[in-house]
Symmetry: C2
Subunit: 472 residues, 2 copies
C-alpha cells in the first residue's frame, strides 16, 4: 500500500488549445459553443473538493454527430475533450486538469425508444434517471438505479454508478445492455444489442461502462427496466449501535432475503438530516429499508427482517407505505450530503467510497468510525450496507489545509483497511483524480498496466478525459 | 449482412513450432508434457463440427506458475498457446488453426476458498461446475450457472457461458467477481475483488470474461454463490404448438415472474429424448420449468405461470418435486444434444445460438422452424426461451458436403433474421471459428476494429489462441 498521498491535489498540466481549434469549433457550433468564463467555470468543476482551471471552451452537443465532430476537431489539434452531463461527479472527473474542451451532452435529452415488452429503454446520454422514470411511468415499468443525484445515464454509465437499489437490482454494470459511443478518432460505434445476453466478442459495453470518459464519449445508452413491484413498503428501524445495525444487515444478505434497499445512517448524520429536512427521526443509528414484490412476498420479507432486527436490539419498525411517505424518507436519505454540508457552513466534503465483502463490513466500518471519532473532524456516515459499500463524508474547512490533511489520512487508512479485507477503494464513485494510487494498491501494477495498454491503443493521442483513473 | 460463408471451414495457417521450444518445454515440464499423437488429437478438437491439425504438444499445468512458464516460453518463440479445460466448446475454440501448444488446466482443480458468509467461492480454472456444487454443498449454497456440459469454470468464463438458470441468475458475465489471469507476456495479474461491486478502473474482469482465450489464460475464478432455495419445484407443460409455448414464455417474462428455468423442447426433439432416455414425455412442444423461492413464493409463481399456460392451451402441469425426479428431467434436457446425435448415426451437429429481445422471440423462432422444416435436414430444437436464446442443431452427415451447405445456409438465414430483430449471433457459445462474419454483421466494423486494437495492445505477438473471434 502506497500511503504517500501524491494525489491529494490533482496534477495540473494544461495543454495548449490553439486559436485555430477555437475558430473551427466556433464555426461549426456557433450558438452551441461558448467561451464565457461563467460557462467554462460551471463545466470545470463537480461535487469533488478539487479545483482546476476551467476548460478553454464548452460545446453544447445536440446530437451524436455534434459529439463526433467536436472530437474529430479536438483530435486534429491533440486537445483533450471532457464529457459533461449534469456535473454530479464526486471524484473530479470533470476537471480540465490537462486543459481542453468540455462537451456538454445535457441537451441530448431524448428518450429514443421505450420497448416495454422487452423491458428496455434507449436514451440519449444526457437523459437523467428521473427523466427515464417519468418517460416510462405509463408502462408499469421503472429504472431502479438511483445514485441519489439526478445524474445523466451517460454519466452514470461512465462511472459505473449504483446507489440505494443496487442490492437487489445491481449497478450500471449489470443494467446497461448497449451503448453508442464516439471513439477517440471521432468514429461512432455501437456495442451490445437489446438481447438479454450475448457471447459475441469482447464485452466492449462493460469495458466502456466505468471508463470515466477516458476511452470514448457515450452518446446513447440502452438499459434494462423492471416491472414496478405490485407492493412496496419502506421501514425505518433504529438500533442501539452501528454494530447492531450492520450485523442485522449481514444476516439479511446471508439469508438471501431479496431486500430492495437497506441503507445505514449513523446517529450523528440522522441529527444533521433532522435539522435539514425538519424530520423527527430518532437520533440513533438506523436502517432505512425497502421491500419490493407481491403483497405476500413483501410481507414475508418484512417479517423475516423484523425478526432479525429484533434479535440485534432493533426497535419496532416504523412503516412508510404511501408513496408520499416513502418519497419523504428517501429524499431525506439523499439529502444527507447537503444536510451535512449545511451543518458546517462553508465546508467541503471529502467522500469515501470503500466496499468490502459483506462478512468484513462490521470490522471495516467500526474501526473506521473509531478512527474518525478520534480525529475530531466532523463527518457524516451513510451506507449502501447491503452491498458492503459505505461513505464517510469528512467535512473540512477549505481554508485550513490541516483539516484536509487529516481527512486524507482518514481516507487512506480506511482504504488500506478495506483492501486488507479484500474490498475495493471505490464501490460506485469511480477513481477520477483522487484514487489513482489506491487503484494501484488494489489491483497491482500489472492490472493497471493492462488498463494503460488499452487506453493507449484506443486513444493514442491521449485526448479522452486525460489524467483520470491513471496518468500515462 | 455478409452472407458469404467464408468461415464455413476454419482457415488453417499453422506457424512453426521450433524444436528448441519443444526441448525447453520438455525440460521444464517433463511428465507434465506430451507430444503423443493421441494426446494431441484429444486436445485439438472440441464439440464443434470442425477439424484442424492437432497442437504440436500439450502441457498439463498444475499451477499458475506452470501456465506462466509455458506462456513465457511460447512467447519467446512466437508460438500460439491454446487453453484447454475439458473440451466442451461448441465453436472450435480449442482447434490449433495456427498451430502451437495446448495448455491443459484440468489438473488445476483445487477449490481454493469457500466464503460462505459472502456467498463467494474461489477456484482454480480447471474446477468444473459440478465440482463447485459438490464442494459447497454443506454450506447451503449453490452455483447456478449450468450450460449442460460439466465444463470448467475457466472455460465457462472464457466463453461467457450461461444455460438453463440464466433467466434468473444471469450468465458468467454477472457471476464472475474476480479473476487471476496469465497475460500474453506470461505475467500474472488479478482483476476484481470479492466486493460485490466496484468502480475501480476498467472492468478487466468483464473484458476477459468472453475473450475466448485470446487475451490471456484464466487461472483462477471467483464466482458468486446463492442460498439454496427453501423450495424448488419443476414442472412440464405441453403445448399445442411452438408458438403457444413461446407466447406463454414471453408473458411470464414480461410480467416479471422470477422463474428460475424455462426451457423449450420442440416435439421432434422430445421424441429423440424419449428414445434416448427411455422417457414417456408427450411428443409435443413442451416447456420445462423450475421455480425457486420460499414455499409461498414458489406456489405463487407456479399458479401465475399455470394460469398463463392455460390461456395459451397448455396442458395441466406435470410436477417433479423430489430431487430425483428433477434430476431425471434436467438430465433428459441436457442430453437432448446426445439424443439427437444418436438419432442419426454418424452425424455431426451444427448448433446455432441466436438470442433476441423477448418480444421478437416468436417471430424469430417460428420463421426459422418453417425454414428448417422446408430444408429436409433433420434437427433438434431446444431453447433457454426465457432469455430469448435458442439452439437449432442441424444434423448432418459429414461425408455429404451438400448437407453442411444446407445447414450453413439455414444458420446464416437464422442469424440474419435475429440481427434484423435486434438480437445477437451468439447468446452463450461464443464466436470461435464459426461466427466471425456474423460478429462483423452484428456490431459493425468499428466495434470489431476496437476489439482488434485491444487484442494487438495486449497480445502484440498474437500468440493467445489466435484466429478466434476475428483474424488480425
Amino acid at each position: 500500500m502506497n500511503t504517500q498521498a501524491s494525489h491529494l491535489v490533482p496534477v495540473i498540466q494544461p495543454r495548449e488549445v490553439p486559436a485555430a481549434l477555437m475558430d473551427a469549433l466556433k464555426n461549426r457550433f456557433s450558438e452551441q459553443y461558448s467561451t464565457a468564463l461563467v460557462v467554462r467555470e460551471q463545466h470545470g468543476r463537480d461535487e469533488s473538493s478539487f479545483e482546476a482551471p476551467p476548460p478553454a471552451a464548452v460545446v453544447f452537443a445536440q446530437s451524436t454527430q455534434d459529439v463526433a465532430d467536436a472530437v474529430k476537431l479536438a483530435s486534429q489539434f491533440n486537445v483533450p475533450v471532457i464529457p459533461f452531463g449534469v456535473g454530479t461527479s464526486l471524484e473530479g472527473h470533470l476537471l480540465a486538469v490537462q486543459g481542453g474542451i468540455s462537451i456538454d451532452v445535457s441537451r441530448m435529452n431524448q428518450v429514443l425508444s421505450i420497448n416495454a415488452e422487452d423491458l428496455t429503454v434507449t436514451v440519449q446520454a444526457g437523459v437523467t434517471r428521473k427523466q427515464v422514470n417519468e418517460a416510462v411511468k405509463s408502462t408499469g415499468l421503472f429504472f431502479p438505479i438511483d445514485p441519489g443525484a439526478d445524474a445523466t445515464l451517460g454519466g452514470m454509465s461512465a462511472t459505473r454508478a449504483s446507489g440505494t437499489n443496487a442490492v437487489r437490482y445491481g449497478t450500471m454494470r449489470e443494467n446497461v445492455l448497449a451503448l453508442e459511443v464516439v471513439t477517440a478518432s471521432g468514429e461512432v460505434i455501437r456495442t451490445g444489442t437489446r438481447a438479454k445476453k450475448s457471447s459475441a466478442g469482447y464485452d466492449l459495453t462493460r469495458l466502456l461502462v466505468g471508463s470515466e470518459g477516458t476511452l470514448g464519449v457515450i452518446t446513447e445508452v440502452t438499459v434494462k427496466l423492471y416491472p414496478l413491484p405490485e407492493a412496496i413498503s419502506a421501514a425505518i428501524c433504529s438500533f442501539p449501535s452501528i454494530e447492531a445495525a450492520v450485523r442485522s444487515t449481514i444476516q439479511i444478505i446471508q439469508l438471501g432475503i431479496p431486500i430492495a434497499r437497506v441503507e445505514l445512517i449513523d446517529g450523528k448524520t440522522v441529527r444533521m438530516v433532522n435539522a435539514y429536512a425538519k424530520l423527527g427521526l430518532r437520533e440513533e443509528p438506523l436502517l432505512l429499508m425497502e421491500f419490493h414484490g407481491s403483497p405476500a412476498s413483501v410481507k414475508e420479507q418484512a417479517e423475516s427482517v423484523q425478526e432479525i432486527a429484533t434479535e440485534f436490539g432493533g426497535n419496532a419498525f416504523e412503516w412508510a407505505t404511501t408513496p408520499e411517505e416513502r418519497t419523504r424518507l428517501w429524499t431525506a436519505r439523499h439529502n444527507a450530503y447537503f444536510a451535512a454540508i449545511q451543518s458546517k457552513p462553508g465546508c467541503r466534503a471529502i467522500s469515501t467510497d470503500t466496499c468490502v465483502p459483506i462478512s468484513r463490513l462490521a470490522d471495516c466500518l467500526l474501526d473506521s468510525v473509531a478512527e474518525a471519532d478520534a480525529s475530531g473532524i466532523p463527518y457524516f456516515l451513510v451506507g449502501h450496507v447491503g452491498d458492503g459499500n459505505f461513505h464517510f463524508g469528512y467535512l473540512l474547512d477549505p481554508s485550513k489545509p490541516e483539516e484536509r490533511e487529516i481527512a486524507e489520512k482518514l481516507n487512506h487508512s480506511l482504504v488500506a483497511r478495506a483492501l486488507r479485507l479484500e474490498g475495493t477503494c471505490t464501490g460506485e464513485h469511480g477513481v477520477g483524480l483522487h484514487k489513482m494510487d489506491f487503484l494501484v494498491s488494489e489491483t497491482g501494477n500489472g492490472a493497471v498496466d493492462m488498463m494503460r495498454s488499452i487506453k493507449r491503443a484506443l486513444d493514442p493521442k491521449n485526448i479522452m478525459n486525460p489524467g483520470k483513473i491513471f496518468t500515462l
